[in-house]
């Protein structure tokens, strides 16, 4: 039996707020561009392959379950993006590469072959992204898909969580080629705004990227890192964080420490999941449909 929900069905229900939400992403007045189609992509995040511990007794099975669930979607996404922390950190460079190889092997079973990878600090901060690049290529890049310009930012290869002047210069150059009403989606692992600085859910120079994006009227950010859904606006720019596929973290500042939420044997995989993101042809909003991990 498939647990998939047809995405059309979701979008119908989303308006009722029953199983998902559709977020205005500050894209008003966008004219329909000729040749643009509806499409959707899937975002998976914070899989932390290699993690072992009480917060997830099925750490070796959760990612595989998510892959099975994505493969079971009745209509397959145009592409899939992993927004960082593919692997759990290790001091051992050999072990780091072993984890990356295993991760790559597992996600190689995805039916969709257009898969985009981004590093998180667990993948890249201890070796400046060296192993990540060997397995997955560049840590920051752009691509275009059906009228949407996607920008993947790396703010983890520098362990200080800096995007850095070189990458910011690259971003400025890329944005200079975009029209002010271009449809822009930014992928990043860490938030580009200060969500909870006391938990290091903050940014040193993310505000510079946001400032560069401000003149553009149609920008939406999807990120990971905080292992839960969170929806935030900086001006007209919407920021949506994704759930994890290893363990959930508490709501920002809801408890003294950001320790993982305990595994609940009565409700295994609670708080874990992945999402579909539906880009509608008018470009006025993105539909977000959250899927749980099922036993």
């Amino acid at each position: 039996m498939t647990s998939a929900i047809d995405r059309r069905q979701f979008l119908q229900l989303a308006g009722l707020g029953s199983i998902g939400v559709v977020f205005g992403s500050a894209l008003p007045g966008m004219a329909r561009a000729a040749g643009q189609d509806d499409f959707y992509f899937v975002q998976l995040s914070d899989t932390h392959w290699g993690f072992e511990g009480a917060p997830n007794p099925d750490a070796k099975g959760t990612l595989k379950k998510a892959v099975t669930s994505v493969n079971a979607l009745s209509e397959q996404p145009d592409f899939i993006v992993f927004t960082g922390d593919l692997t759990h950190t290790t001091d051992n460079p050999v072990e780091r590469r072993r984890r990356m190889a295993e991760f790559k092997d597992i996600v190689g079973a995805l039916r969709v072959k257009d898969v985009r990878f981004m590093p998180g600090e667990h993948d890249a901060s201890l070796d400046s992204g060296k192993a990540f690049k060997e397995f997955f290529g560049s840590t920051y890049y752009t691509f275009d898909h059906k009228g949407v310009h996607f920008i993947a930012l790396d703010k983890v290869s520098d362990p200080r969580a800096l995007i850095g002047d070189e990458q910011l210069g690259w971003l400025a150059q890329d944005l200079a080629a975009q029209s002010k009403d271009a449809r822009i989606v930014v992928f990043t692992h860490r938030p580009l705004f200060d969500l909870a600085p006391q938990w290091d859910w903050a940014t040193r120079d993310g505000a510079k990227a946001v400032e560069m994006l401000m003149p553009f009227t149609n920008v939406t950010v999807f990120y990971g890192h905080i292992h839960q859904e969170n929806h935030h606006m900086t001006g007209h720019i919407a920021h949506h964080s994704a759930k994890s596929l290893i363990f959930p973290l508490p709501a920002p500042m809801s408890q003294p420490k950001r320790d993982p939420l305990p595994w609940d044997p009565a409700n295994p995989y609670r708080g874990l999941g992945f999402r579909e993101v539906e880009a509608e042809d008018r470009g006025t909003r993105f539909g977000i449909n959250e899927f749980p991990v099922k036993a």
Partner: protein, 117 residues
């Protein structure tokens, strides 16, 4: 003559005392903080509101950071160097300081408490 010399001397002493007072006021209290994966020593620090303090930061192993978000101050902690972080807390309470440079498996728990009385 002798009287006027005494007055001058007294005035000089007063000026010196006053100057030393000003100097004492401006001299921050030095607090040494050592960082190693994945803890700070000490991990609880108490200071007084309005008291200028200077954290002298050292790392016992790798590159770290100390960030006190509620006061908007931070510093890298570079191995082999003594880094300085100045703070004059302008509010009382209990605040978190944390490592904001990813340092490995355990980084997320590397924090301490700053108590301002």
């Amino acid at each position: 003559m002798r009287r006027s010399r005494r007055i001058v001397l007294a005035a000089g002493l007063l000026a010196l005392a006053g100057g030393a007072g000003v100097l004492a006021q401006k001299q921050p209290r030095v607090i040494k903080v050592s960082a190693r994966r994945f803890s700070f020593t000490p991990h609880e620090i108490t200071v007084r509101k309005g008291e200028p303090v200077l954290f002298e930061l050292t790392s016992e192993d790798i590159f770290m950071g100390m960030n006190i978000p509620d006061f908007g101050v931070r510093s890298d902690i570079v191995p082999g160097k003594t880094m300085q972080l100045a703070l004059t807390p302008d509010k009382a309470g209990t605040f978190t300081f944390l490592c904001d440079v990813f340092c490995g498996d355990g980084h997320e728990g590397m924090s301490g408490t700053l108590v301002v009385t």
